[in-house]
Subunit: 369 residues, 2 copies
Amino acid sequence: MFRFELHHQDAGTAARLSTFHTPHGPVQMPAFMPVGTQGTVKGLTAQQIAATGAQMVLSNTYHLALRPGDEVVRDLGGLHAMMGWSGPILTDSGGFQVYSLAERTVVSEEQAVFRSHIDGSTIELSPERAIAIQQNLGSDVAMVLDHVVALPCPPEQLREATERSIRWAARCQAVAQRPDQCLFAIVQGGLDPVLRVDCAERLASMNFPGYAVGGLSVGETPDQMRETLQATMPAMLADRPRYLMGVGRPEDLLMAIGLGIDLFDCVMPTRNGRNALAFTDAGPIRLRNLKHQRDPKPLESGCPCAACRHSRGYLRHLFVAGEMLGPILLTIHNLTYYQRLLAASREAIAADRFAQFCTERRAGWSDAG
Amino acid sequence: MFRFELHHQDAGTAARLSTFHTPHGPVQMPAFMPVGTQGTVKGLTAQQIAATGAQMVLSNTYHLALRPGDEVVRDLGGLHAMMGWSGPILTDSGGFQVYSLAERTVVSEEQAVFRSHIDGSTIELSPERAIAIQQNLGSDVAMVLDHVVALPCPPEQLREATERSIRWAARCQAVAQRPDQCLFAIVQGGLDPVLRVDCAERLASMNFPGYAVGGLSVGETPDQMRETLQATMPAMLADRPRYLMGVGRPEDLLMAIGLGIDLFDCVMPTRNGRNALAFTDAGPIRLRNLKHQRDPKPLESGCPCAACRHSRGYLRHLFVAGEMLGPILLTIHNLTYYQRLLAASREAIAADRFAQFCTERRAGWSDAG
């Protein structure tokens, strides 16, 4: 039910063009998944998500397990039926949220024990439970539970968390049962290239149908992220999807695509959209700025999204007046921007001009005032 | 550019089927206008508003004059261009908001002087200014500025406010200039049938292209509203649109249609939708109720709206989780419900069975638990 087709590798970079087939349809890669944390991409109907060009969405195990509860999701027909989203869905494992959101987390070999950020109740998340939840959710791609640590981290502690992540990946693999759901492993190892390569190789030997790079975009510099990714990529199997979790800015996406990453998710376009920041080829626009008050231009000429049927002046008014439609329209625009960036990247790879494409885009972005 | 076509009057009631032609297209009446206070029906794109079946929307002079300012709206191409709404638009005059929202309002013969509810700044609204603002907004239908009073009101004060409303209507009429904008008068008179009839007759003699009944739905009982409307309707010209401002619940709409009202606006479907209350043929549903947690049924079977592609369980989850999509979907559902109610009313009038239709609908609503 799952198949990865590698179509072409760019002549000048490691960027690659591929299709990932899932029970809910194919994903043309490189691809970007909008984040639908609580079973909804904030403010958008399923129809509006599809209209941005999104092929696959991400939803969060941690949040859905807390609310409405994974058994409720199952009883409502699973995540696809509940959201009304007929395309592929990937669910994370909760590892990152246990690290970033939960209160008083204690990680033992058995499991993570933490307090809910919603009501303070105690919750136990083991690798087996992370898989059981994701099986109830019914996503196309489930992720193994990993042990994410804050950086910088003492070497011994980082090594232990990475070793534990590998053991937990094996426990996840042992209990994953749904034939219509595949399980991706997550390479950890902080900013240590040796640890990263070791982790990637050992997970590769376990033959997962897809691999993610986790534990990045947690506060390190862009250079550190790139160097870590550069060191890790050669150790990641080339014949399966490679997913960089939680990244990132448009320039981060181009950098990672150039290193051979196929799949992304990030709250950047949605969260920034809700905060009145719009991405464009000429760099970001801050809509609250007074200079947009009477500006009749759309955010980006030629953009087919619902926001770009309006003037910057109207969009600014919506934010200043505290109207929901402002965040909604900018979320639509930013997701459309990301999808168009990915579509253009795929075209550039197909034409063996990805490096040139990156140079052109970066020049446009840095022109911004 | 404006024409009112009366097609048919129901055999058993005063309900009527008509078309009101405007520069932005025809409106099949009886019709309901969703309220887009600040130039946006809260949470909905123009495309989503149209998908509910809405033909014409209302926007508020008071709010737009304060923010972003009517000259800004004009500079952004007028309200139609700014909102991206290509159908007809009606703007109220600000009279009701000066009464209900503004702080420290002082009404003299010349104008109303009040403080903005946003920043406390002093604003003067004369009949001439109300028209100038609406001309900048560029709505299809403008409303005269009226002097709305709180009920109950001493008879002498009510009479004076009603007389002033008539004088202000004449001042509005004297300065209204846009050929692509028509001006409706507003019948006032509180709950006094004699005053209402007098006001209606005197405004009728001034030959406005349309007439509204104002100053109702301000705290009186449903019986008082019906009795006042019953007394007023015979004095309102039959050959022009008759608009009941700010009304109301589904049962109020049927009552008023039966008395010969053609046009409505109300925040009831949108405001209630944002508060998790959904209208259905079996009465209202409160989505936050725990009993909906695992309910796979849509709000209303057979409803074509975007909300009804989802389960009640999912909609409840969205509200409990504080997700914007909950208010958005329930707004869509409630507006669709109102539009379907109006469309069914028009069909019933055409078939000379409006009274029976009302009986059937009321029976369904009162079945609610």
